[in-house]
């Protein structure tokens, strides 16, 4: 064992690796919520569009959604790699919920591909509908899972979970509206604004109700701080939408996502899976593997972020009118 020296017995540079990895897992989760969030939101808004608007909405997310969804793969992978027992207990406890999310994601991924295949009314109604259902179901169930997870609920269907799921759905809609402002300025984006404003109010209300019925300590610093920050950010978002400041609106959405993560982390800590009584320290892997994964991730994560820079800058600015999904 000597050949790996101190790597086998202590954390790299004495860093608090379990906590750092908890943060890393949350980072991947946040990237998924923020980035795939606008894909889901646009999927929901798809229901309100005319035929040509639908085409445009698909073109908006076309190059991005696949890469965005991979953040879920990375989130799962990092959680599995760093906290295997929590990964196992969590998704096996919410068995049907997990498969519900996977089914929703499958529908969301497949539907646009199929939608574009044929130009007849029934076919497009079917797969357009499937796209909306997948884009609605996935964030709702995912929010339900997150809230159950953080509160350690053993039941699949909980009241605070349902409100949490609806809150995440509302978040995706406001995210989608903001992304539309960036990518397709014009009458469509203007028409979307009212949905964004409503979704902002709904998000705050649902988040508060979910917190209130969940039984968490509402007077704790993290809850109070996060609620206050969310109100401010949603206010900023609404102001930016009305004033036609798409970048401002999107940055505000990023802030909302960040606050959501802080709230999640603050409520979960020190547990990685409260329902199974597993703390971050208990569930973490041994030093050798942890150190190697930390080194690998330190190299890979900047690389991954650079791919996203390439992708988003290749398709920066509004989409051109002739661009379509196919």
């Amino acid at each position: 064992m000597g050949e790996f020296g101190g790597l086998t017995s202590e954390w790299l540079f004495g860093l608090p690796l379990p906590t750092l990895w908890f943060g890393l897992v949350l980072f991947a989760l946040g990237a998924f919520l923020l980035l795939d969030g606008f894909d889901f939101g646009i999927g929901v808004l798809f229901a309100t569009g005319s035929k040509s608007e639908r085409e445009r909405l698909l073109a908006v997310i076309g190059p991005f959604w696949d890469g965005n969804e991979v953040w879920l793969v990375v989130f799962g992978g990092l959680l599995f790699a760093a906290f295997p027992s929590a990964y196992a207990s969590l998704f096996s406890r919410y068995y049907l919920l997990t498969f519900g999310i996977l089914a929703g994601l499958g529908l969301r991924g497949l539907a646009p591909e199929l939608y574009e295949q044929r130009d007849d009314v029934r076919w497009r109604r079917l797969w357009g509908g499937a796209f909306v259902v997948g884009s609605t179901l996935t964030p709702f169930l995912f929010g339900l899972l997150l809230v159950n997870w953080v509160t350690g609920a053993t039941a699949t269907l909980t009241l605070h979970g349902v409100f949490g799921g609806l809150a995440l759905l509302a978040f995706c809609v406001l995210d989608g509206v903001a992304f539309c402002q960036l990518k397709t300025p014009g009458p469509l984006a203007v028409r979307m604004r009212v949905h964004g404003l409503r979704a902002g109010i709904a998000y705050l209300a649902l988040l508060l109700v979910s917190l209130a019925v969940s039984g968490v300590d509402l007077q704790s610093l993290v809850v109070l701080g996060c609620v206050f920050a969310s109100v401010l950010l949603i206010g900023t978002y609404s102001w930016a939408l009305r004033r036609d400041r798409p970048v401002g609106a999107f940055v505000a959405v990023g802030g909302v996502a960040l606050v959501l993560l802080v709230l999640f982390g603050g409520l979960a800590f020190p547990y990685i899976d409260r329902g199974a009584g597993l703390t971050i320290q208990d569930a973490f892997i041994s030093p050798l593997m942890a150190n190697l994964m930390t080194i690998a991730t330190a190299f890979l994560l900047p690389l991954v972020l650079s791919y996203f820079v390439v992708l988003y800058s290749a398709f920066s600015g509004p989409i051109e009118s002739e661009e379509s999904y196919g």
Binding site: G62, G76, F80, Y87, Y95, M293
Partner: protein
């Protein structure tokens, strides 16, 4: 209700067997797409743009379905095999996380550029994106096969007690992640993917060549299909013989490192030397037909040939029989027959490759209707060979999920209910049947509408270059 252990195993088998089709298509298409893109950018000839645009459609569809079906597998380790995830997670989770970051991210982000960005980015970045997508698909295979090969031939670990459970902990990363098995698996799998795609391309192209040249029907873009056929044949001539060569080496490695699996592949029950190689074997009793582990067999065999093959030339070599293991044999008939179907297909593909090459050399490639039919029938057979090959690998290692460490039956989620497990199994049977039908229907549609017509092309065909390249 189905027993949760059986339901989980059936569900994993179903979901992984459906999933593998799509990575095979995307990994196999990757080198072709890189080549088409490079040639398109370098020469500006329209045929390469047609090739790239047409096969990218199949690639994109396969990639999307591969993403959603792959995500299912990642989470099934936790939902249905929670004990496995807990016991093996420290060694097994890492490669999955690295696959996500190193491979999948590369592939998914640059795919956006590759599919949507031809007019948006420079030629150089476009070529880079095609290479990144291809590299991503192959790196995915690296990490997945590292994880799988560790389960087949585990090493570089210790069992320790953690939170009251015996779990695996890493002691030697190089030993664990660079097993000899990984090398065999990776070469065999990647070559299989390219070969499968070559067969698929050849079959589709042969259909149009047949209609045009044999049936005399007018086919749009016949030049495109003729070129596709030739490209596929070149790929087949390279990959088909290689597949059998390293397959043979791989089988000998299995005989050493997983003797129980090898015994099942050859249906050897009693340890002995001069072991005959059965070409076929059938149960001689009615009960035996329904018992995959029956020993009442009648078959046609070459005496001593199994020993000869496994030792590389010695007919006296000893092969350990299934009886000599303390664990119950895997369902032998499934492993035995899957292995034979794979090997038979492997040789059929070689025959097909040389037949095509021979006709091509004599200038008769477009005239041999029997060859065209054989290619059409063989279009999906590469995928079939991959499926049966994986059945040998995965059914053959039973009852172990991690060879010698953890049995599959002990790896299932402890509290999983029969109702939940049955519900999701039924859901997957229905959902994946629909998925396969849709995939087939959309592929058919893409193939029927053919490549983009010359006036849709954007490539600036430089006629000076054209003269030069055409000589």
């Amino acid at each position: 209700m189905i027993d949760p252990t059986i339901a989980s195993r059936l569900q994993f088998a179903l979901t992984v067997m459906v999933h593998i089709i799509f990575p095979v298509m995307s990994m196999g298409l990757a080198p072709f797409l890189i080549w088409f893109t490079v040639q398109e950018v370098r020469t500006g000839r329209p045929i390469y743009e047609q090739l790239r645009r047409f096969w990218t459609k199949i690639f994109a569809l396969s990639f999307v379905i591969g993403t959603v079906t792959g995500l299912v597998l990642e989470f099934e380790f936790a939902t249905n095999f929670a004990t496995f995830a807990t016991v093996a997670g420290e060694l097994f989770g890492g490669p999955l996380a690295l696959e996500g970051m190193m491979a999948f991210m590369l592939e998914a982000t640059f795919l956006g550029v590759f599919i949507f960005g031809r007019d948006r980015v420079s030629d150089r970045l476009y070529v880079v994106s095609s290479v990144a997508v291809g590299l991503g698909t192959w790196l995915s295979a690296v990490w997945i096969l590292i994880a799988n090969s560790w389960m087949q031939t585990p090493r570089g670990f210790e069992l320790v007690t953690k939170n009251g459970q015996r779990v695996v902990t890493l002691t030697d990363p190089l030993a664990a992640y660079l097993t000899p098995r990984f090398g065999y698996m990776f070469v065999h799998m990647q070559n299989a993917a390219v070969e499968s795609v070559a067969l698929f391309m050849a079959g589709v192209a042969a259909y149009y060549v047949y209609r045009h040249h044999i049936r005399g029907q007018s086919v749009d873009a016949i030049a495109f299909w003729e070129t596709t056929l030739k490209i596929a044949i070149v790929a087949l001539v390279i990959t088909a013989p290689l597949q059998v060569l390293h397959g043979d080496a791989y089988a000998r490695h299995v005989a050493q490192s997983q003797p129980q699996k090898f015994a099942a592949m050859e249906a050897v029950w009693e340890t002995g030397s001069y072991v005959p190689e059965y070409i076929v074997a059938f149960p001689t009793t009615l009960d035996g037909v329904f018992d995959p582990r029956t020993r009442e067999l009648f078959g046609i065999a070459i005496p001593g040939f199994a020993s000869w093959l496994v030792s590389g030339g010695n007919p006296e070599a000893t092969i350990r029989g299934l009886e000599s293991f303390s664990t119950r044999a895997p369902p032998v008939a499934i492993v035995f027959w899957s292995f034979r179907i794979m090997v038979a297909l492997g040789f059929w593909f070689i025959l097909l490759a040389f037949w095509s090459a021979f006709r091509w050399r004599r200038g008769e490639l477009f005239e041999d209707d029997l060859l065209h039919r054989a290619l059409m029938i063989s279009a999906p057979l590469g995928i079939v060979a991959v499926e049966v090959g994986w059945i040998v690998t995965e059914v053959g290692r039973q009852p172990w999920v991690i060879q010698g460490v953890l049995q599959t039956a002990d790896s299932v989620t402890p509290g999983l209910g029969g109702q939940e497990a049955t519900l999701t199994l039924v859901g997957f049977v229905g959902g994946y049947t629909a998925l396969l039908l849709l995939y087939a229907a959309v592929c058919r549609r893409i193939i029927r509408s053919g490549p983009p017509s010359p006036d849709e092309l954007t490539a600036t065909d430089n006629s000076a270059q054209e003269v030069r390249t055409d000589g």
